[in-house]
């Protein structure tokens, strides 16, 4: 621990975001520095490595104007930390945790490191209880469970943004009794936004009914800040969940921008590139974000994560979706084919999967018949989709009765169950819509509605 800030002017070389300073004594790995440019502007940076008094610093912002002889570096003797307080609710910050909404920063209650600490596996509680997103394809068939991390795999041109908007608007946490409302808050982290997207999200945030904390990083902001924003967001989420007892849903969009930023920064550090140029440690780096979702023994809150990513070239084996899929507990996949048939949200439920669904559904959580209904929907829809392939060859007329019925069901299932533009459904409504479809198509019979089934036959 040092008693004062140290100032050095011994710059040796400067390379975009990297600055070397020599003859530094007493410096800490990860220490935050301020670089003072000749014109007096200041840029924050972080110590990346130290070798015999020569320090490599990465700056968080553009350093245009920096020179070797007239600049100074101030070593602050602290690590990157997030200022936390209950007053951060309903505030909007940038990627460096500075307010974007023209209000001053509150007096922080706690300072926690942005990178967080790993949850002790022995302290983890297994995820349970569901979070209602209001989207039938997710709630009914790929239920999001508290403490889970469930990514949305999108493709360029698909309405991921609108889906995120809907989730921000409508997601709620029905509480353990099914009716009582728990303490629910959303953390929204937007990475590399274009101005068009920015306008959309700002409008959405202004209509939010749930409490939220937002971190907005624009496409024009510094690349390094894109790596910081989700860390700050998750530190805020952990604070809200494990310190204040909220159930937190963290929505992060778009992770593809994050990974590209990671690649850019890694390359500038002259690190060895891995698959498609992404650094070899990308798995561990992504895990350091995704693994922050969870629940803890003896604490009431939870962190649930819904990252959104765009699959480059619609390719699910691309490193970004691939490594994400290895860490997360399932995935929600958007489909171009559904989009072209004007189904919104275009969620393809067949490749989608929520691995933890079974811990969040059933009596006391969603509904007693949820499990059996979900497997019926899945079975008949999958059958219908198989038939659709066959239909392409033999034509609709060539189908036998049973197959035609399955195909009709699949069509209607997409049009009525999956398709829900601009509306939100409660879980019970979702299940009823699907159940009615099964009955209408005479695919299943239910004890209390047998006569109606026969009528429709």
């Amino acid at each position: 621990m040092r008693l004062s800030e140290h100032i050095y002017k011994t710059f040796t070389h400067i390379k975009t975001h990297l600055v070397f300073v020599e003859k530094v004594q007493e410096v800490m790995l990860g220490e935050i520095v301020r670089v003072v440019m000749p014109d007096g502007r200041q840029v924050e940076g972080e110590v990346l490595s130290i070798d015999d008094g020569t320090v490599l610093v990465q700056t968080f912002d553009e350093c245009t104007g920096l020179d070797i002889h007239h600049s100074a570096m101030i070593f602050t003797d602290r690590l990157k930390q997030a200022p936390l307080s209950p007053f951060m609710l309903n505030r909007i910050f940038n990627g460096s945790f500075q307010p974007l909404d023209d209000h001053p920063l509150y007096v922080p209650d706690k300072w926690w490191p942005a990178t967080g600490y790993p949850i002790n596996p022995a302290s983890r509680e297994r995820p349970r209880q569901f979070i209602e997103t209001g989207i039938s394809a997710i709630d009914g068939l790929n239920t999001l469970v508290q403490g889970q991390k469930l990514p949305i795999f999108s493709c360029a041109g698909l309405p991921a943004k609108e889906i995120v908007g809907d989730i921000l608007q409508y997601a709620r946490c029905p509480g353990s009794a099914g009716s009582e409302k728990g303490k629910f808050v959303m953390v929204f982290v937007a990475l590399g936004l274009t101005h068009h997207e920015y306008a959309f999200y700002m409008e959405t945030l202004s209509r939010m009914q749930t409490e939220f904390v937002a971190f907005i990083n624009l496409a024009s902001d510094a690349v390094v800040e894109r790596l910081l924003a989700p860390r700050f967001g998750l530190t805020a989420a952990e604070y809200l969940a494990f310190e204040l007892g909220y159930d937190v849903l963290a929505v992060i969009a778009d992770m593809t921008n994050y990974c590209d930023a990671l690649r850019e920064v890694s390359t500038s550090k002259e690190e060895l590139p891995g698959r498609r140029g992404y650094p070899g440690y990308m798995y561990s780096d992504l895990a350091s974000l995704y693994e922050r979702a969870g629940r803890i023994h003896g604490r009431s809150g939870s962190v649930t994560m819904l990252p959104v990513l765009t699959m480059p070239e619609d390719d699910m084996t691309h490193p970004i979706p691939d490594l994400t899929g290895y860490i997360t507990e399932g995935q929600i996949v958007l489909s171009r084919a559904l989009q072209s048939r004007s189904i919104y949200p275009p969620i393809d439920v067949l490749p989608s999967l929520s691995r933890l669904m079974q811990h969040g559904i059933g009596e006391q959580m969603t509904r007693k018949d949820h499990r059996s209904l979900a497997s019926m929907f899945y079975k008949h829809y999958a059958k219908g989709r198989d038939v659709r392939v066959l239909e392409a060859i033999v034509g609709r007329e060539g189908l036998i009765g049973k197959d035609a019925k399955a195909l009709d069901f699949a069509d209607d299932f997409e049009k009525e169950f999956i398709h829900q533009p601009g509306t939100s459904r409660s879980i019970s409504h979702t299940l009823d819509v699907g159940k009615d479809l099964l009955i209408r198509h005479g695919l299943e019979t239910f004890e209390d509605e047998k006569p109606e089934t026969e009528k429709s036959l």
Partner: protein
């Protein structure tokens, strides 16, 4: 403790020190918080240290203390039922001490040093014992925890009840005392008298494995599969149901929630073979993906050293690791931080030899006391993009005895376990068929042939059906396809969340026998011209 030197450089997980009297692979304590590290490179005036914990916040000038021992594990009674991190830090006591987040902090002993154990021995003072001879045992849960003589010597005194693990159990006239606790360097295989050929099967309770691709006690198997193919669930099922004495489960760079799930299940479930609590036979090593990578690299060695320790008591031990790809990636990260020359896809060139020597720690052994023990390994692999041509899968393929390929297509069809029945193989098959034919059913070998044949024929018929349509197939083809479908849905697939999750070999055999007998009967009836029955069967297919 004496300071050996200071930190002069820092970069990611590596620390450079000016300490002079260090030796290669020696453990060191780094900085004020005593972070654990290992010396990985020595130069004349400086040394490079790989730190196993988060280095953020370390300062130039902080102290380095040499520990004079390589990375080691503590072995002794009390290991069973514990959950450790990759460096054998006990996670449950750690959570009690510092809360639910892992921060640099106190170094807790891996075993309870205060607990008193009762030592049972039939030896008397003044007896001459040979090296490796059984001295006596502790009762560790339902297992007999055996202690052996470290040297040949004459016993001076031998202790009985109320022993802590660091107290001398036996003292000798001219050798060091034997204690319950011992320290073993993790990268050194524990010695044995002889390695034997695997001869008996390891029954996993999974029909597709036990029947088509049997695993031998002392064998090695790999489970490669893309994400969502059910690697972890399969590993969990095997950990729960395998017929072994001890299970060591390593969560190497995988999800924290899975470890929580596993812990919960083990605490509730009973071993189907003995009826005792599963947790009593299990040791868990959890180094999840967000915990430091260097400790992830160490985790599989920590686990295998503990597994060998129980093997040496004459137990059959199963080591499950999920996943070895994450271990290899940790190796790659460390290697690249040390600026070593990269090999294929950035992995260091010693990846293959490292894996091979790890695999070679499995086997059936004659222990120093002359007993037979075994260590079997089942390792999952997570190939990037589900592409099996990548270096880790390929290196494992050369070293392993059984390849259980998890198939993305089967997983999408919700067929679990998604083990592909065309490309998987088991080198133990021949010996194990001999065993099962003798012990379970004389038709075992023949049934396998019939089962394979049906699946193979179905494959051909499906190709034909794609061209001519299902209606273009003959009646006997329909019967065959019905039988093959039954094999797939009722025999090869097993729902791990129902009672069917576990199947004993006689049940496995009975089930396939029934399907094949039904098929034979239907074929006979068809031949006899009984077309009515045939129609019924075809209908059943729908």
């Amino acid at each position: 403790m004496k300071q050996s030197g200071k930190i002069i450089g820092l970069s990611g997980p590596t620390v450079i020190t000016d300490a002079a009297n260090l030796s290669l692979h020696e453990q060191v304590k780094v900085g004020r918080q005593n972070l654990l590290g290992e010396v990985v490179r020595l130069e004349k005036h400086r040394a490079v240290i790989q730190v196993y914990e988060d280095t953020r916040g370390l300062c130039v000038g902080e102290q380095i203390v040499a520990m004079k021992t390589p990375l080691s594990v503590t072995l002794g009674p009390g290991l069973l039922g514990m959950i450790y991190d990759g460096l054998q830090r006990p996670l449950a006591p750690l959570a009690e001490a510092i809360g639910p987040f892992i921060k640099p902090g106190p170094h807790l002993p891996p075993l309870d040093m205060k607990k008193k154990w009762d030592f049972k021995s039939s030896l008397e003072p003044d007896t001459q014992v040979e090296k490796g001879q059984l001295l006596g045992s502790f009762q560790e849960g339902s297992h007999e925890h055996r202690i052996y003589a470290a040297e040949s010597a004459e016993i001076e005194s031998i202790s009985a009840n109320g022993m802590t693990i660091d107290a001398p159990l036996a003292t000798y006239k001219d050798a060091d005392a034997t204690r319950a606790m011992q320290i073993w360097p993790v990268r050194v295989p524990r010695p044995c008298l002889d390695k034997k050929r695997p001869h008996a099967p390891l029954v996993t309770g999974q029909r597709v494995i036990d029947f088509l691709y049997p695993l031998a006690l002392g064998g090695t198997a790999i489970l490669p599969g893309g994400f969502g193919t059910g690697k972890t669930i399969l590993e969990h099922s095997i950990a729960k149901f395998a017929e072994v004495d001890i299970v060591v489960y390593v969560g190497c760079g995988e999800r924290g929630n899975e470890m929580a799930e596993m812990l919960n299940e083990l605490a509730d479930l009973k071993d189907p073979w003995t009826g005792k609590l599963l947790m009593d036979r299990t040791i868990m090593v959890a180094n999840t993906s967000n915990m430091p990578v260097a400790a992830r690299e160490a985790s599989i060695y920590t686990a295998v050293a503990m597994a060998e320790y129980y093997r040496d008591m004459g137990y059959h031990v199963l080591l499950l690791a999920d996943s070895i790809s994450r271990w290899a990636e940790a190796l790659r990260e460390i290697s690249s931080a040390l600026e070593e020359m990269p090999g294929e896809e950035g992995y260091p060139t010693y990846l293959a030899s490292g894996l091979a020597s790890f695999f070679s720690r499995a086997g059936v052994v004659q222990t120093l006391s002359g007993d037979i023990g075994s260590l079997t390994m089942i390792l999952s692999i997570s190939p990037p993009g589900g592409d099996f041509t990548e270096p880790v899968t390929q290196a494992c393929l050369r070293a392993c005895g059984s390849f259980l390929m998890l198939d993305t297509k089967l997983a999408h069809r919700r067929h679990f376990p998604a083990i592909n029945w065309q490309q998987s193989f088991s080198l133990y098959e021949k010996n194990m068929i001999k065993y099962f034919t003798k012990e379970v059913d004389p038709e075992w070998g023949e049934l396998i042939q019939r089962c394979r044949h049906l699946l193979h024929e179905e494959e051909k018929l499906l190709e034909v059906a794609e061209i001519v349509g299902a209606d273009g197939l003959q009646d006997d083809d329909h019967i065959l396809m019905t039988a093959a479908e039954q094999i797939r849905s009722q025999f090869l697939s097993q729902n791990s969340f129902t009672e069917d999750a576990f199947s004993r070999p006689p049940e496995t055999c009975g089930r396939i026998k029934k399907i094949i007998a039904d098929f034979d009967q239907a074929m006979d009836e068809l031949k006899a011209g009984n077309s009515k029955n045939n129609e019924e069967l075809t209908d059943n297919r729908e």
